[in-house]
Subunit: 306 residues, 2 copies
């Protein structure tokens, strides 16, 4: 079954990522299609924030991990949607004036600029609830209740103080400060890495890999590419091509945000990303031939230019 | 078993409510005791917002419903904590400058005044995640995974666009507008009623009542007292005693918020609250003798002066 599904890293890899992206767009569109006569503005702001833009890295990780391990695609739609909903909620709240105060996101006005600040708070709040709701409720053919619960546990941990919310708090407190490399890694692992790691694990759980050596390997893989992804983000903000990124560079420095390159230098940052990439690939060893697609994804995360 | 636990409405009722309150304080304190070296400020703001104040109505509903149906108290701590964490998150976000812009809550500076606005956004975000995390993870002796999942489904529905977040969006949009009584009831049922109804249902589920006539009765009971509670809140804001309330009255009018009394008059509001109280008691009929404590709680909700 994995032979049929997974084409491996190579010429088709970009097509595979594009297919994941197209699939999650459809899933999210269907999820958010219901009208809400009581709060049309909130519904419009939710659709504006979720649909039509974004790399969809986290759902892609769910799909590619799950597929690599033999899960049918239909069973991956729900966990893929849940991580993207949580991710979008965090973007909407991070953009708020009291947080990063960003006017643009994915080339469009941020939610609080397109709508208003109160609505943006509610969009994030509602999306977080929806992220948990779909895991508890959404179609996930044949997945035992205990596995769904474990998914919810992982998602809640990745979202809360131990993960995203805690990492964002460190980030807020770090503005204008000098952080050590270790402190920056801790912040990145919580703020960005935790949900990326969770995405890999949800894909594995949906495929029935609920423990043991393979799950531990995937956890390690997810943690390493999660940190690598954020370091690459930091690098692109210093040395990326604005035309490819679709946004101006230098935002971190303008916001006085400590980053990996600001603490360790650009060369060390590139070296650390490569090191994490290699550690991620090495972690996949217990998966044997089923690791090809995920290895390709690790390359993609570190080599991306946008 | 219910004979031993439930003392019924009467002289002991206030003591019973006080016992629930004391119990949930201990449960919440234990939940939030862990240090967090990475984000001490967030942790302090979470503890400030959750601990030491509040009526604790929602956990009390979980305890009293569960106890009435024979659940051991230890099994109710986790669902009781989950609804209070969600409730506190909603208060912290509702108080934000972009929402109700309140400086005082429970007689103390609101979270964003005591800390800062970004931290208050994160406190709400983290508490929402924690509310789901405890239901997925917390001790709940002998509760099947499927029942926990159903609890999470109910909590997510009560929290999201169909419930609290949607109701708050209607509330935001309603400032300065004239709403019909039906529109106000819809807003109140979502913003306040949904989580109160959910609290009753979680208590029932923890007691093993997972469907059928009794659960339907409790759902109806919860919905009626949920709306009654908010109408009584509206009434107290117009006609309450500031000394008993511990806060100034007239806040709704000052915020240009449509309320039940502003739409229908104070007399009609009192009549509607009494009607809902009676409907709530009537709904309890299938529970027979086990309804005594819950009936007492309905009295308490409508007759309260603070």
């Amino acid at each position: 079954m994995t032979e049929r599904r997974v084409r491996g890293a190579g010429a088709n890899f970009a097509a595979q990522i594009a297919a994941c992206k197209a699939r999650i767009e459809g899933v999210l569109e269907a999820l958010l299609a219901l009208p809400d006569p009581g709060s049309e503005r909130l519904r419009a702001a939710i659709r504006y924030s979720v649909l039509g833009a974004g790399k969809r890295l986290r759902p892609t990780l769910v799909y590619l991990t799950g597929e690599s391990l033999g899960a049918p695609l239909e069973r991956l739609d729900t966990p893929a949607a849940s991580v993207e909903l949580i991710h979008v909620y965090s973007l909407v709240h991070d953009d708020l004036p009291a947080m990063d105060d960003d006017d643009l996101r994915r080339g469009r006005p941020t939610c609080h600029r397109a709508f208003d600040e109160g609505t943006a708070v509610l969009v994030g709040d509602a999306l977080q609830a929806l992220g948990f709701a779909v895991l508890a409720d959404g179609p996930m053919s044949g997945t035992p209740a205990e596995t769904r619960l474990e998914m919810i546990r992982l998602l809640a941990r990745a979202t809360g103080t131990a993960g995203m919310a805690g990492g964002q708090a460190v980030d807020l407190a770090a503005v204008g400060q000098t952080l050590t490399v270790a402190e920056i890694e801790n912040m990145h692992r919580r703020k960005t890495g935790a949900l990326i790691e969770c995405s890999v694990l949800l894909g594995a759980l949906a495929a029935g890999v609920t423990g043991g050596r393979e799950l531990a390997a995937l956890r390690r893989f997810g943690a390493e590419i999660g940190l690598a992804f954020q370091i690459q983000d930091d690098i692109l903000d210093v040395a990326g091509d604005p035309a490819l990124l679709g946004k101006a560079t230098g935002a971190d420095a303008a916001h006085l945000k400590p980053t990996y390159p600001s603490a360790a230098g650009l060369t060390a940052a590139r070296q650390r990303a490569a090191e994490l990439h290699d550690a991620a690939i090495a972690a996949l060893e217990p998966l044997g031939g089923r690791a090809a697609t995920l290895a390709g994804l690790a390359d993609f995360v570190v080599n991306r230019a946008s």
